[in-house]
Symmetry: C2
Subunit: 480 residues, 2 copies
Amino acid sequence: MRQHSIGMDDEALRDGLDRAGDWIREYFAQPEAHRVMPAVVPGQIAAMLPETAPEEGVPFDEIFADFERIVVPGTTHWNHPRFFAYFATSSAPAAIVAEALAATLDVKAMLWRTSPAATELEEVMMRWMRRLLDLPPQWTGVIYDTASIAGFTVLAAARDALGLQIRERGMSGRDLPALRIYITGETHSHVEKAAIALGVGQENVVRVACDDAYRMRPEALRAAVDADEKAEMRPLAVVATVGTTSTTSVDPVAAIAEVTRERNIWLHVDAAYAGPAAIIPEFRWMLDGVELADSLVLNPHKWMFVPMDLSVLFLKDESIVRRAFSLVPEYLTTPEAGVVNYMDYGLQLGRRFRALKLWFVLRHFGAEGIREQLRRHIALAQEFASWVSVEPGWEVMAPHPLSVVCFRYAPAELDETQRDAFNAEILHAVNATGEVFLSHTKVDGRYALRLAIGNLRTQRADVEHAWNLLKREALRMKPR
Amino acid sequence: MRQHSIGMDDEALRDGLDRAGDWIREYFAQPEAHRVMPAVVPGQIAAMLPETAPEEGVPFDEIFADFERIVVPGTTHWNHPRFFAYFATSSAPAAIVAEALAATLDVKAMLWRTSPAATELEEVMMRWMRRLLDLPPQWTGVIYDTASIAGFTVLAAARDALGLQIRERGMSGRDLPALRIYITGETHSHVEKAAIALGVGQENVVRVACDDAYRMRPEALRAAVDADEKAEMRPLAVVATVGTTSTTSVDPVAAIAEVTRERNIWLHVDAAYAGPAAIIPEFRWMLDGVELADSLVLNPHKWMFVPMDLSVLFLKDESIVRRAFSLVPEYLTTPEAGVVNYMDYGLQLGRRFRALKLWFVLRHFGAEGIREQLRRHIALAQEFASWVSVEPGWEVMAPHPLSVVCFRYAPAELDETQRDAFNAEILHAVNATGEVFLSHTKVDGRYALRLAIGNLRTQRADVEHAWNLLKREALRMKPR
């Protein structure tokens, strides 16, 4: 056995891992022991910590005690079964084990040579996902940290594919047309951030009109493209969303693809949240027409039970992304030919071994086990919507095809402005109990409460509890 | 106790965590049980895996057995004490425990509200690091995944700070000058990738001449800026490197900063690898003049014993980055005022709880414990260089101020072309033993072997072993 000269010797390592293991088990067994949103005010946690790093090391026990004393009660518990905010997520135990192993191996999955197992496991996982999603066989997948980076990457690739030599010569100091990206008012903000970063500019992000179910109108898209081309601007890409962030509306991919193919524009499908549900036969319709698109992103870290971060980007032609980003300095040249070097597909060079947790989860649940969970979440959301829709004074505010419901308390005696304010108060009151955590959005400009279901441990009783709290607080605070 | 409807029940979770804990302990106790570079050929690992995901779940034991059977022997072991390639890194046990806990909490550290503890711990860790590095008190830090993303982010911010309304109006379809970024031939490739992505273009990345120790020549920088301004191009940023990737040369930050302040150009200091060593008093000189720069990046995941990914970006004026990237959709507006919402500082929205592992490591080692390790690594590299320099036929190829040595076998009887080829053969032969893993680079256009030290468990005997293998293989294969 090797002698260590490091801070954590074998015995301390054993204690540390055992202690963490015990804590993790208890955490999952008794989530109700924690408030969902912590009872802390800004600055309170920082005030519990010293202003300088210690000069001498401290025993692991002491660190762990502070983790329990400071971090745990100061955390918003995303893994809590009563977390209903944003997109509710869930980190499966098998994936947590995988993350510990990945941190131990700590490979940088940038070149095949630096990580053969990580590289090939990623390739195989992408084939598993491709088949589960029923995508064309020539499509290939790459794992990124987030859908934001994946979306940024394809938009950069789409820009490169315009053939304007932007990679080499840049966009300024020469005569190039304005580039245009088409989205809707429901599209995730990362597309606009990408437009800023890529030098496209916010003004060149075109918001195409939606129908009354918050879906992009293909004929409005065609008109917008026409107008831009007439004005000598150059369409760069269209982003269609399958499962928008506010209402989970599903843009009509096939009809949009008709326009993008006709006009030869890159079509990116952002299915970050809803994509995993497309492995369920009765929900595969959401991706109808995706075979006519150029790229598709979905986030297993949203709704496939792996912890942040793991976003999957599928590409019809991966060589376009590689051509846009590959840049190999001498010290990273390798003798292997015909291998995938994942650093060629984006900005980042070093990459974590993310495929491991996806492998653990897909195998531990099996595809059918995952489908069962997603169906269960969707059914719970539908049941919740049915409760809201029959409750006097309450209303569902948008179609709810998946596991998210937008709703509000809208009694006849309140006008729209009052309703906005009152629902914000209800949200605040409900969240302040610490028993549940919901978030809000706006639907057609009106304040909406939003309940999202996605946790492995969320049961009907948890949803019911949220509903009872909402009704109770609305009644208690009811304006007279 | 809550009843679960999920794949991994309490008992399986206990088994899984215990089994992973045992495996991690054994892994660190007996690293020699593994080849550093695996004996696999491309495709071999993929061939061991089925082509489709299982429909039904399998017991955790089976998954873990496959991890040991397929992944472990197929991995390049970055955490091995005889890993001497690229920048050698080391994942400390305390950080691995932290990663497991972070994956369990699985917070998205995007808004204060979604993660008060993660947000404030990040703020405090950044203050700890700022003091350890002796940076100006008004500087603030943000954690990113990689130095590539951090560098990209500051270059985007620097572009925004030019006042050309690029965020709003974009870079094309209008009359803007070409933007210029100044680096050297030794600068990390991520800067050129950022230039591509930002629409600056590869042709606008200017390589300033170096002195004979591979450091940027400030007067050459000044001349390059002059020439560009005369040609009506617009300087965007200068990137100085503290610890270049090939030779770990240190650009003269103070002298470069004189030029950038004189001409009002953003100065970014890339200390991804060497930055952590600046917490050692006798190595703080490397950052002399950094207080005159605009931003500084360093990677605790390179040389501060946290696993991928954790890169720290310090900013003189964080508001510039926030202004360049902040974009808050309705569903992410929050009632808290005066708090940090880290999603405002970059492309990514969701962010992992990375500060936790830095906290665990800084406390478990203490600053002095980390300094002790870095000094030890540097001393080992210096000793290795001394062996090479006195060995007939061998030579050190560049100054080696830190923990990396570039060297080669260059007997008089071989010409330069033969030397290049022969050293590549030596590298191949040495790595093929599986006992050590080194990488290469080019120094002044000549093939160089490169030995990097950075592992907590690397001992003098490991370095000696590498040296003996190198000499043995050179002798064995010696061209007649």
